[in-house]
C-alpha cells in the first residue's frame, strides 16, 4: 500500500500541478468574478492535495515519523489561515496571487523537507513570521499617499544597507552577501531591491527631465557598483535590468535604455577580463564539463540532476539532488526537476510567468504613475530573478547564484519576496479604490463604465488587447490624470 502511494504519487503530483497551472491561466481568461473564483477555489484544492500527497511520501520515507504529521498540520493550518485572512481582511486583493504565493511556498517546503529537514522547519517558521509581518503592508500601500515623497530617503537607506554589507559583510560562497545581527544572518540586497524600486519610481514618476534622469542613473550606478564590489553579480544584474526597464517605461524612450544596455555590455566584457570570478563563471557556463572538478562542478551536477530525472522525475527521495552544492538555495530548481520531473519544472516556470503577468497587469490598470512604476519595477525584479536563477541552473545563461523567489531556502529572500507580494496586493486593493472613487466623482453616464467593465473583465485580454486590434473599452481616461501633464 505504502509503496504504491510512493510510486503513484510521482505521476499524480505532475498531473495535479499541471491542472493547477492550467487553472491559473484559465482564471485569467475568465470574464466574471464568480467564474474566476470558482476556478481559484478549485486551484486551492489542487494546492492542498499536492501538499498532502507530497507530505504523505515524506512521512513514509521518513519511517513514518509522527513529527512529520505535526509538521504537515502546522503548514496546512498556515495555508488555510493565509487564505482566510486574505479572504476576510482583503476581499479586494487578488486571490490568484495568493494561490500562487502559497503554491510556491508549498513547493519550497516540500523540496527543502526532502533535502534538509531541519532547514525546512526553520523555513516554515520564517514563513509564518514573515506572512504575519507583511500582513499590514497591503493596508499601508492602499491607503498611503506619501510614499512618493521619500526619494532621497530611499536612496540613502538602500545605499547605506549595501555599503554596510560590503564593508562588514562576511564571505559566503565568494560573495559578500550578508551580515549577522544577534546570530540571525541577514541579506540586505533582497530588501534593497524593494527600496531601489521605490526610489526609482519616486524619482521618475513625474520628472523625466535630463537632470532627473542623470541624478537617478548616477545613484543607480552607485548601487550596482557596490554590488559588484561585494561580488554579488546576480543582484547587480537584476538591479541593472530593473533600472533600464523602469527608465524605459518612465521616459517612454527606449534610447536611454539602449545606451544603458550598451554601457552594460562594455562593462560586462571589461568585468570578464578584470575579475577572475567573472571569468570562471563564464568558463563554467561555456563548457562545465571541461572544468568539472572545479568551477564547472555545480552546473555539471545540476545538469546531471535535470537530465537524469527526465520528464517524470525520479520521485521524491529517489534522486541524488544533494550532489549539487547549495542545492536548497540557488539550485533548488534542479532538485525539483530531478525528483518531481521535467514536466513539473516546466509547469513551475509557467506559474512564475502567470505571477509576472499579474504583477505587470496591476501596473497597467493603475492610474497613479508612481504606483504603476512600483508595480512594474517589482514585477521586473521578480521576472528577472526567476529567469536568472532557472537560466543559470539549466546553463541557458551563466550561473550567478540567485535564489528562486519563495521556493529557495533562505529567510531574507522569503521575507523580502513576501513583502513584494504584499505590496502588489496593496496595489490591487488600490486599483479597486481608484475605480470606485472615479465612479463617485463622475455622476455622468455610468452605464459606459459598467458596460465596458463587464464587456471583457479578463486579465489576459487586457494585456493582449492592447497589442491586438480587438475592442478595448474598459479604461476610461481622465484627462486630468497625472501622466497627461507631461
Amino acid at each position: 500500500m505504502f509503496s504504491i502511494i510512493v510510486k503513484l504519487s510521482k505521476y499524480l503530483l505532475i498531473i495535479l500541478f499541471a491542472v493547477f497551472t492550467y487553472l491559473g491561466f484559465a482564471a485569467m481568461r475568465k470574464k466574471t468574478e464568480s467564474g474566476k473564483s470558482l476556478l481559484l477555489s478549485f486551484q486551492r484544492f489542487m494546492l492542498l492535495f499536492i501538499h498532502l500527497l507530497a507530505y504523505t511520501v515524506i512521512y513514509i520515507q521518513k519511517d513514518r515519523d509522527t513529527g512529520v504529521i505535526i509538521f504537515y498540520l502546522v503548514q496546512l493550518i498556515f495555508f488555510v489561515v493565509v487564505f482566510t485572512v486574505y479572504y476576510i481582511a482583503y476581499p479586494k486583493a487578488s486571490m490568484q496571487l495568493v494561490n500562487l504565493m502559497c503554491m510556491f511556498m508549498a513547493i519550497g517546503f516540500i523540496m527543502i523537507s526532502r533535502l534538509n529537514y531541519d532547514r525546512a522547519i526553520k523555513q516554515v517558521g520564517i514563513a509564518i513570521v514573515s506572512v504575519v509581518a507583511s500582513l499590514l503592508v497591503p493596508l499601508i500601500i492602499s491607503k498611503s499617499r506619501d510614499l512618493r515623497r521619500f526619494k532621497y530617503l530611499y536612496a540613502g537607506v538602500g545605499a547605506a544597507l549595501l555599503c554596510v554589507v560590503a564593508v562588514l559583510g562576511r564571505l559566503s560562497y565568494g560573495a559578500k552577501l550578508s551580515f549577522s545581527i544577534a546570530g540571525i544572518s541577514f541579506q540586505p540586497s533582497e530588501f534593497v531591491k524593494i527600496i531601489f524600486v521605490f526610489f526609482v519610481a519616486a524619482s521618475l514618476y513625474s520628472d523625466t527631465s535630463i537632470k532627473s534622469i542623470l541624478i537617478t542613473s548616477a545613484i543607480a550606478l552607485f548601487y550596482i557598483l557596490v554590488l559588484i564590489a561585494s561580488k554579488d553579480l546576480g543582484a547587480a544584474m537584476i538591479f541593472f535590468f530593473v533600472y533600464l526597464v523602469m527608465l524605459y517605461v518612465a521616459t517612454k524612450e527606449y534610447v536611454y535604455s539602449l545606451v544603458g544596455l550598451a554601457v552594460g555590455a562594455v562593462a560586462a566584457v571589461a568585468a570578464y577580463f578584470m575579475f577572475t570570478h567573472v571569468r570562471t563563471r563564464v568558463i563554467a557556463w561555456l563548457d562545465p564539463f571541461s572544468v568539472v572538478n572545479d568551477e564547472g562542478y555545480q552546473v555539471a551536477q545540476s545538469l546531471f540532476a535535470i537530465g537524469t530525472g527526465g520528464w517524470f522525475g525520479s520521485g521524491l527521495f529517489k534522486g541524488r539532488p544533494n550532489d549539487i552544492p547549495v542545492v536548497e538555495e540557488d539550485y533548488i530548481f534542479s532538485a525539483i526537476s530531478e525528483e518531481m520531473g521535467g514536466i513539473f519544472a516546466i509547469c513551475l516556470i509557467f506559474c512564475c510567468m502567470c505571477c509576472l503577468i499579474l504583477f505587470i497587469n496591476i501596473a497597467m490598470q493603475l492610474k497613479d504613475r508612481f504606483y504603476k512604476l512600483v508595480a512594474l519595477g517589482l514585477g521586473t525584479a521578480y521576472g528577472f530573478q526567476v529567469f536568472v536563477t532557472i537560466g543559470g541552473v539549466t546553463k541557458f545563461i551563466p550561473s550567478t547564484g540567485v535564489t528562486l523567489p519563495l521556493i529557495s531556502y533562505g529567510g531574507s529572500s522569503l521575507l523580502a519576496t513576501l513583502v513584494v507580494f504584499a505590496i502588489i496586493q496593496g496595489l490591487y486593493i488600490r486599483r479597486t479604490d481608484e475605480e470606485v472613487s472615479r465612479e463617485k466623482r463622475r455622476p455622468g453616464p455610468r452605464n459606459t463604465f459598467d458596460e465596458a467593465y463587464s464587456a471583457d473583465d479578463s486579465d489576459w485580454n487586457r494585456i493582449t488587447d492592447n497589442f491586438g486590434e480587438t475592442q478595448y473599452e474598459r479604461y476610461e481616461e481622465d484627462k486630468e490624470t497625472e501622466f497627461q501633464k507631461r
Binding site: I306, T308, D323, I349, I360, T448, E477
Partner: protein
C-alpha cells in the same frame, strides 16, 4: 460614443504601450527558457548524463536491469544475468575475444560498458510498461546497444593474431563503422575481479588491460612513408621523374641509415622506392622536404590532435622541428625517431585515403533499441574531417596498390579482391632485431569497402597475413 471609445482606447494605449512591451519581452524570455529546457531534455541530456562524474548510475541500477550489448547481427556480447542468490552480474559470452572493446564492469568500467553505461541503464520501454513496472516494483529493462562490431570478423582477427600481442582494427572507410577491434594480450571480463592482481601486476601483466587498438602508442615505421611520400608529391610537381640508386644505405653527418636487411634496391623510380619501402631513398627524400610543411601535412592528418571520434583514444605525436639534425630528419622520414601513432589513428589515415581524403568519424554504436526492439536512437555516418585532398588520394592509392602488386606485400596473391596498402617495420629499441610489424590497407582499390589496420608486436612481416585472413573472411561472407 464611438469616438470617445476610440479616444479612450488610444489614451490607454499611449499610457501603457511600454508596459505591454515589457510583458511581451518577458513572455518571450520565459518561452525561450522553456524552449531551452525542452531542448536540453530532448537532445542533450542523454549525452550529458552519461558522465563518470554523474554518480546516479547506482540509483538507476536499483530500478533498471542493465541492457545488452549486441553485435551488428544481434549476437549478445554482454548481458545481465541473475545469480541464484538474486544478485545481478554481467556475463560476456565471448570472453576474451571482445574483451577490450566491450570492456568490463567489475573493478570500474571500461570500453563500451563504460561509454554506454547510462544508455544501458536507461529504459525506453513503453510508458505504460514503465509505469506498470514502477508501481508493481518490477525492474524495467534497460535499452540494448547494437554495435557495429561483426562477430565473425572479430573472431577471425582475434585468431589471426594467434599468440602474438598487438592490435587489429577493421572498419568501413565510407561510413566509419568499426567492424572489429582486437587487442592482445586479452583478459577474461567474466573473471576480472578474481584475476585483478595478476592483471594489474606491473611486471607480468604486459599491460593486459590496455586497449592497444586505441591507446597503444607505436612508432609508425614505414607506414609513415605514406605521409613522407605525400609531402614530396606536394612539393615536387615532377615527382614522376624521381630517380634514386639504392646502395642499401644512405649517409649524412657520419650517420649511416640502412635499408631493411641491408638490401640494395638499385635504381628506383618513386613507385619502386615506395613499393620496396626503401629507407635510403625516403631518408634522402626527407632531407629535401620543408619540415614546417611536413609538420602541417601531418597535423592536418591529425598528429598532435585529439582524434575526432567518440571512442576514447590516445593521441599521436609528431615533434620534428626545422632545426633538427639530418639524422633526426632521416629517421623521422622513414617513421622512426620520435613519432608515435595509435593503431586507431593509423586506421583513420588509411580510411581517409580510401575515402578520397574525407575521414568519417569511427563509431562503435550503431543504434540503441528498447526491450521490444524498437529503435530509440541511431548513430549515422558523420564526416569528421578532411585529411587529404582528393587528388592526393588518387596518387596515394596508385602507390599503395603498387606495394601489393610489385612490392613488399606478397600475401594477397590470388585474392579475389584488389588491395592497396603499406607495410611497416617499426623498431622500438636499440636492439635492431626487435621490431613490430604494421599493415594498413583497404580493398577494393576502386571502391573501398573494408580497411584493416594491424600491428603485431615482436613479429617479422606477420601483419599483412593477418589482414589477408580478415579480408578473405569479409569477402567470403559477401
Amino acid at each position: 460614443m464611438k469616438d470617445t471609445k476610440k479616444i479612450k482606447k488610444q489614451n490607454f494605449r499611449s499610457a501603457n504601450r511600454e508596459y505591454t512591451v515589457v510583458v511581451y519581452a518577458f513572455l518571450v524570455l520565459f518561452l525561450l527558457l522553456i524552449g531551452y529546457f525542452i531542448y536540453y531534455n530532448v537532445f542533450q541530456s542523454d549525452k550529458v548524463i552519461n558522465n563518470s562524474f554523474n554518480k546516479r548510475q547506482d540509483t538507476l541500477a536499483a530500478e533498471i536491469v542493465k541492457g545488452d550489448i549486441l553485435d551488428r547481427n544481434g549476437k549478445v556480447l554482454a548481458t545481465t544475468k541473475t545469480a541464484k542468490d538474486g544478485t545481478e552480474y554481467r556475463n560476456y559470452p565471448y570472453g576474451q575475444v571482445f574483451a577490450h572493446v566491450v570492456g568490463y564492469t567489475d573493478k570500474g568500467k571500461t570500453g563500451l560498458e563504460s561509454a554506454e553505461n547510462f544508455t544501458l541503464l536507461r529504459s525506453h520501454s513503453s510508458i505504460i510498461t514503465q509505469i506498470t513496472n514502477d508501481i508493481n516494483n518490477v525492474k524495467s529493462n534497460g535499452d540494448n546497444v547494437v554495435t557495429t562490431l561483426d562477430y565473425t570478423l572479430q573472431s577471425v582477427a582475434y585468431n589471426a593474431l594467434g599468440g602474438y600481442n598487438g592490435a587489429v582494427i577493421v572498419m568501413e572507410p565510407k561510413t566509419g563503422k568499426i567492424l572489429a577491434m582486437v587487442s592482445k594480450p586479452a583478459f577474461d571480463p567474466n573473471n576480472i575481479a578474481a584475476n585483478w592482481d595478476a592483471y594489474t601486476n606491473e611486471q607480468s601483466s604486459k599491460g593486459i588491460l590496455v586497449n592497444r587498438a586505441t591507446r597503444g602508442l607505436y612508432p609508425p615505421g614505414s607506414t609513415f612513408k605514406i605521409l613522407t611520400l605525400l609531402e614530396y608529391i606536394r612539393e615536387n610537381k615532377d615527382y614522376e621523374n624521381f630517380s634514386y640508386t639504392c646502395k642499401g644505405y644512405e649517409t649524412a653527418d657520419d650517420f649511416k641509415l640502412r635499408c631493411y636487411d641491408g638490401t640494395a634496391h638499385g635504381k628506383e623510380d618513386l613507385t619502386a622506392a615506395f613499393a620496396n619501402s626503401c629507407n635510403s631513398a625516403f631518408s634522402k627524400i626527407g632531407l629535401s622536404l620543408d619540415i614546417n610543411k611536413l609538420r602541417s601535412t601531418c597535423e592536418r592528418a591529425l598528429f598532435n590532435k585529439s582524434l575526432p571520434t567518440d571512442i576514447a583514444c590516445g593521441s599521436s605525436s609528431f615533434v620534428l622541428e626545422p632545426s633538427a639534425t639530418k639524422p633526426e630528419i632521416m629517421m623521422t622520414a622513414i617513421g622512426q625517431g620520435e613519432t608515435v601513432v595509435t593503431p586507431m589513428h593509423m586506421a583513420m589515415i588509411g580510411a581517409a585515403i580510401a575515402n578520397d581524403g574525407v575521414l568519417m568519424a569511427p563509431y562503435l554504436v550503431d543504434h540503441t533499441v528498447n526491450d521490444a526492439g524498437i529503435t530509440v536512437s541511431a548513430t549515422g555516418p558523420r564526416k569528421a574531417a578532411t585529411l587529404f585532398d582528393k587528388e592526393d588520394c588518387d596518387v596515394l592509392k596508385k602507390y599503395m596498390r603498387a606495394v601489393v602488386t610489385q612490392g613488399t606485400v606478397y600475401q594477397f596473391k590470388g585474392a579475389k579482391y584488389e588491395v592497396a596498402g603499406k607495410t611497416g617495420t617499426a623498431e622500438y629499441s636499440s636492439d635492431k632485431t626487435k621490431s613490430h610489424s604494421w599493415f594498413v590497407g583497404f580493398a577494393n582499390v576502386e571502391d573501398p569497402e573494408i580497411l584493416v589496420t594491424a600491428i603485431v608486436e615482436d613479429a617479422d612481416g606477420v601483419a599483412p597475413a593477418v589482414a589477408r585472413q580478415i579480408m578473405d573472411a569479409y569477402y567470403a561472407k559477401k
